[in-house]
């Protein structure tokens, strides 16, 4: 049972402001994912919540208690780091129990909690190994176990999977999701992998340069991104942005109507997701194929439009193109996004 609330949190490193007036409230049991490009301040904010960095201004409340003057160990948080940060000279059991031993928890209670964590994460056979004798995935599981053992109110994850290879990452992602469903703790999860963000999150917070760009459920961000930055960040492969014109409420690309919009007349940016395009003889996107990538079940077409703009489409595996072929694509009008000159999305 724990809520987390940030009120006007700011952070300066010297004269540079890294976090700008951050307000966020996280409900009990919610898994919130912070995403954003490298260097936008995700880790810094997480470390401030953990108590590893001081606040320049603002307040942090966990479970209604103001904690920003408390040392990390009194905040009821546990953190899992990107580099695992295990104690190399202690075995798995020692690593799991270390924080409790320090808190003077009774021996039987330590054993109980360590065993529960080991069961959840399948570490029972590894208990007497040293970290250097474990694989990357096993180390990460120990790191997560060390957090579980503390029975924290809030879990903080800082890119816990980014050191793992692709297959293991998918596996551990599912493990973390299961863990969340089982423990029902409040969790904050930092990543710059938008697939992780989409699959794990109850809500996603998109950061850019220390500011929140948008907060919402994964589908809200996918369907109605607030601006061009969020639209480009969420979804893979990324959304295509094309220069278009708006005339009499119609969005025109090379004089062909793509969709309708309330945007005033003049130049505008049209956003279309690769997966929403399909081959259509009457479609507005006409061009020649530059590159064709076939993945079996699906295929990517890189198109060079008549006016020189490029775009990518994700088609199903039936289609076959060769470089130089001409290709015509269409899209359902309600799947189009129109952005004004400030990059904000225009409601359709």
């Amino acid at each position: 049972m724990a809520t987390l609330e940030l009120k006007g949190v700011e952070k300066f490193f010297g004269a540079t402001q890294v976090i700008h007036d951050m307000n966020l409230s996280v409900a009990d049991g919610e898994l919130v994912v912070f995403v954003g490009p490298s260097g936008c301040g995700k880790s810094t904010l997480l470390r401030m919540i953990a108590g590893l960095e001081t606040l320049s201004s603002g307040e942090i409340h966990i479970d209604g208690q103001r904690v920003d003057y408390q040392p990390p160990s009194n905040r009821g948080i546990a953190m899992v780091f990107q580099s695992y940060a295990l104690y190399p000279h202690k075995d798995v059991r020692g690593n799991l129990g270390f924080s409790l031993k320090h808190d003077k928890v009774e021996k039987s209670e330590i054993d109980r909690r360590v065993n529960i964590a080991a069961d959840i994460l399948g570490l029972q056979d590894l208990m007497s190994r040293k970290p250097r004798e474990l694989s990357g995935g096993q180390r990460q599981r120990v790191a997560i176990g060390r957090a579980i053992v503390r029975e924290p109110k809030v879990f903080l994850f800082d890119e816990p999977l980014s050191n793992l290879d692709a297959a293991l990452r998918v596996h551990m992602r599912v493990e973390i999701l299961k863990l969340h469903q089982r423990l029902k703790n409040t969790m904050i999860y930092v990543t710059h992998d938008q697939v992780e963000a989409m699959t794990l999150a109850d809500r996603i917070v998109v950061f850019r340069a220390g500011k929140v760009e948008q907060i919402g459920t994964p589908l809200e961000l996918y369907r109605t991104p607030a601006n061009r930055f969020v639209a480009g960040f969420i979804g893979s492969p990324a959304m295509n942005f094309l220069n278009a014109d708006c005339k009499d409420g119609k969005v025109l690309l090379n004089d062909r109507e793509v969709c309708r919009s309330t945007h005033p007349d003049g130049p505008t940016t049209l956003g279309v997701r690769p997966e929403h395009l399909q081959v259509d003889k009457q479609g507005p996107f006409q061009g020649s194929v530059q590159v064709f990538e076939h993945l079996g079940g699906e295929a990517f077409v890189h198109l060079n439009l008549a006016d020189g703009q490029t775009m990518v489409a994700k088609l199903d595996g039936e289609h076959q193109f060769r470089p130089g072929d001409s290709c015509q694509l269409g899209i359902a009008a309600d799947k189009c996004h129109v952005f004004d000159n400030d990059g904000l999305r225009v409601a359709s």
């Binding site: 104690y87 000279h89 060390r146």
Partner: protein, 279 residues
């Protein structure tokens, strides 16, 4: 053809290394070998082995029984070990402070601490002597320990700082979240991670202290507080030199350095951090 070339190359390298080793070990071997010989044999046949009539343990006998050598040896051991302890403790702590914490004057303090590398402490001998005499510490082992600690700290701090900077910040943060005090983070998390570096610094700092003749001669030349290097001088009289005893004393004096080196060299090589962080 290539394989022959490779093999020739490796033979060449080994030949060079081997001859270097021999060259370096030769004087040492000469001391040890001659320490087991009679005075006559030392001068008659310096390179000969201590066999038959040439063999004599008189040197060792006189060193162990007729002199204060065991006491000198003990003095050296006390001075070296205690200085080493302080150098390692304060060196590592100072390095931890400047590499871990952000505070005003951080850079200034680290430069100030390391500056000593460039200024030989012997330049300050006169001032040191005055200071030690004023403190009433002349002719004590404490005087030597203080001076050697000061002498060893800059280089120790320099080496420690470099290595402590490379200790993952996340491990320390993780310990902070686990609720460890800053002291316990230092002793229980950071120190175990840099054990190989401690060995390196220990070996580097120990040898100049053990071998030093200058400060014992100046600060504590008294009968009771002589160290081995100074004590050996007693066998070198104005008119006669008891070479057997000198060589025996030197041979024994090599032992601690050798033992220390054997203990630490395993640590020197082993990197304990592997597996701590990614990798």
């Amino acid at each position: 053809m290539r394989r022959i070339q490779d093999r020739l190359g490796s033979v060449g390298i080994h030949a060079i290394l081997l001859s270097w080793t021999l060259l370096a070990l030769f004087p040492l071997a000469l001391i040890v070998v001659n320490s087991f010989k009679t005075r006559k044999a030392i001068f008659g046949d310096p390179l000969g082995l201590p066999t038959g009539k040439a063999l004599s343990l008189k040197g060792y006998e006189s060193v162990m029984t007729n002199s204060d050598f065991p006491m000198f040896f003990g003095n050296s051991l006390i001075v070296t070990c205690v200085s080493l302890f302080f150098i390692l403790l304060f060196g590592a702590m100072a390095a931890h402070a400047v590499s871990e914490y952000r505070f005003k004057g951080n850079t200034f303090i680290s430069i100030y601490l390391i500056l000593g590398i460039m200024v030989p402490i012997r330049l300050g001998t006169v001032a040191l002597l005055n200071l030690i005499v004023d403190m009433g510490l002349a002719n004590t082992l404490t005087a030597l320990i203080l001076v050697y600690t000061a002498q060893g700290l800059p280089i120790a701090i320099f080496i420690f700082t470099e290595f402590l900077r490379s200790v993952s910040r996340e491990i320390k943060d993780s310990a902070r979240i686990d609720g460890l005090s800053e002291y316990r983070i230092f002793f229980e998390v950071v120190i175990p991670l840099v054990r190989p570096v401690i060995a390196t610094v220990a070996v580097f700092s120990m040898i100049p202290i053990w071998n030093d003749l200058w400060f014992p001669l100046i600060l504590s030349p008294g009968e009771e507080t002589r160290t081995v290097t100074l004590g050996v001088q007693q066998f070198i009289g104005q008119y006669t030199v008891q070479w057997g005893s000198v060589l025996a004393a030197l041979s024994v004096a090599i032992l601690p350095v050798l033992i220390m080196y054997v203990i630490f060299s395993r640590q020197l090589i082993r990197g304990i951090t592997s597996g701590a962080v990614k990798g």
